[in-house]
């Protein structure tokens, strides 16, 4: 029998998508099935093996994924004629609001952005599998509440929502005088 870590390596490469610990354990017959601790240890070993190589092992929401590190994008992206699409600001802002403020209704998104949210944007986000309706607010009209999905986290290389960049702090108007003064001072001296 090959080493545990190389079996995991083979499975992760063949899958080409994140595999959870449960799915990795299910590769083995019951009598030879490794404990979770053994799986974790083998995964850690693998991750170390890949240091300095053209692949890395990361844990994202959907499980463990083998991927080509960003440092190689310069060469690897040449494989495809088509460049990856860019997302509009409207789409990204809508997605950010859903990610940070979920569950959130379309009306609430519009209130914060100060403009209408097009149905096309919500449709695109749904089709990409990044957002879904996770309920309805108990107010007249029962508007849909949106939240992000596991695929959203996987796509952005995140394990949990907690790994999103922190939101900027809101400053209070009362702190105006003191703060305005010191920030002016800093700006002038820098």
């Amino acid at each position: 029998m090959p080493a545990l870590k190389t079996i995991l390596e083979a499975a992760l490469l063949a899958a080409g998508e994140p595999l959870s610990l449960e799915r990795l354990a299910a590769l083995f017959d019951e009598y030879e099935r490794p404990e979770r601790a053994a799986l974790r240890a083998a995964l850690a070993e693998l991750a170390a093996d890949y240091r300095g190589r053209g692949l890395e092992l990361v844990e994202v929401a959907g499980g463990w994924r083998l991927q080509v590190p960003a440092a190689y994008a310069r060469w690897v992206s040449r494989l495809w004629e088509e460049k990856p699409g860019r997302y509009s600001r409207a789409l990204l802002e809508t997605l950010a609001l859903i990610a940070y403020r979920q569950p959130i209704t379309r009306g609430e998104i519009e209130e914060i952005r100060g403009v209408a949210v097009s149905s096309a944007i919500l449709q695109t986000l749904k089709e990409r599998g990044w957002i879904r309706i996770i309920g309805h607010r108990a107010v007249p009209g029962r508007p849909a509440l949106y939240g992000t999905t596991r695929e959203f986290l996987d796509y952005f290389n995140l394990r949990t929502l907690g790994e999103l960049p922190p939101l900027a702090e809101l400053r209070d108007l009362d702190s105006l005088d003191a703060e305005a003064h010191s920030s002016l001072h800093q700006r002038n001296s820098s």
Partner: protein, 262 residues
């Protein structure tokens, strides 16, 4: 108490004449320019950031003036502005008028700054605008990261065989027999079972070419019952014309073989 010109002068001390330069946009680029704003909050943030103004201390008169100037430019181009821009214009005008209103010193601290709500909304929008930019900067699949894969070894996707329980098998038989009984009078009897099994065994053992001595079919180790079962099986096979029995002369050994093609 501040008035409009004092507010202007106090912040950064920039001459007012610079503002239209900031705002100047070639007419044919106007539409494109509008596209780049995600609404009135975004436009206001642009005006504030462009001039390095403190969001907590917006020179409301000046910014309102710039905002209106922008709308006038748009209108001159007969550009159809989204309603949100006009709503904001009305709101700004209202804040400005309240801001310029002289306030009683005693009430000053208790009274809310008329800009407070605008500042709150601008900050709130800006933090998500930033968040969107940071989200866009996160390494993502297909642009910065690529799933690593290797061709899987050839393995026919195994589909586990369905499980069947004896109870299911019995239920199936029951259903079939019930249906049969409703139609005709098939009888499937229990006692034939071991005989039937022996019939199968005999069929598997015998062939149509070679004769086998009948006594070889009986296994004394099975005891009397075994011999009887085998005997009944042979009789049944003969009755069903599956077996043929040959005896060359009386008391000679009896041979059996399967009924051949002809």
């Amino acid at each position: 108490m501040d008035d409009a010109s004092q507010v202007l002068a106090r912040v950064r001390g920039e001459p007012y004449t610079q503002v239209p330069q900031d705002l100047y946009i070639p007419p044919d680029a106007l539409e494109v320019f509008l596209e780049t704003f995600e609404g009135p909050l975004d436009l206001l943030l642009y005006l504030i950031r462009k001039q390095n103004l403190d969001i907590l201390d917006i020179p409301i008169a000046r910014v309102t003036e710039q905002y209106m100037e922008y709308l006038r430019l748009m209108e001159a181009q007969r550009f159809e502005l989204a309603a949100e821009y006009l709503v904001m214009a009305a709101w700004l005008a209202e804040i400005k008028s309240r801001w310029l209103l002289p306030r009683a010193p005693a009430a000053e601290s208790a009274e809310q700054d008329p800009r407070a709500e605008l500042v709150r909304r601008l900050q709130e929008y800006e933090r998500y605008k930033r968040a969107a930019e940071e989200l866009d900067a996160l390494p993502r699949l297909g642009r910065d990261l690529f799933p690593a894969r290797a061709a899987p070894p050839s393995c026919d996707a195994q589909r586990p065989q369905p499980a069947v329980s004896l109870a299911e098998l019995l239920a199936a038989l029951r259903a079939a027999l019930e249906r049969a009984e409703r139609h005709s009078h098939h009888t499937v009897s229990r006692e034939a079972l071991s005989v039937r099994e022996r019939m199968s065994q005999l069929l598997a053992r015998l062939d149509a070419v070679h004769f086998t001595q009948l006594h070889e079919l009986f296994d004394p180790a099975e005891g009397r019952l075994g011999v009887v079962v085998t005997f009944l099986a042979v009789l049944e096979l003969i009755r069903e014309a599956l077996l043929e029995l040959v005896q060359n002369q009386p008391f000679a050994p009896i041979h059996v073989r399967l009924r051949g093609v002809g």
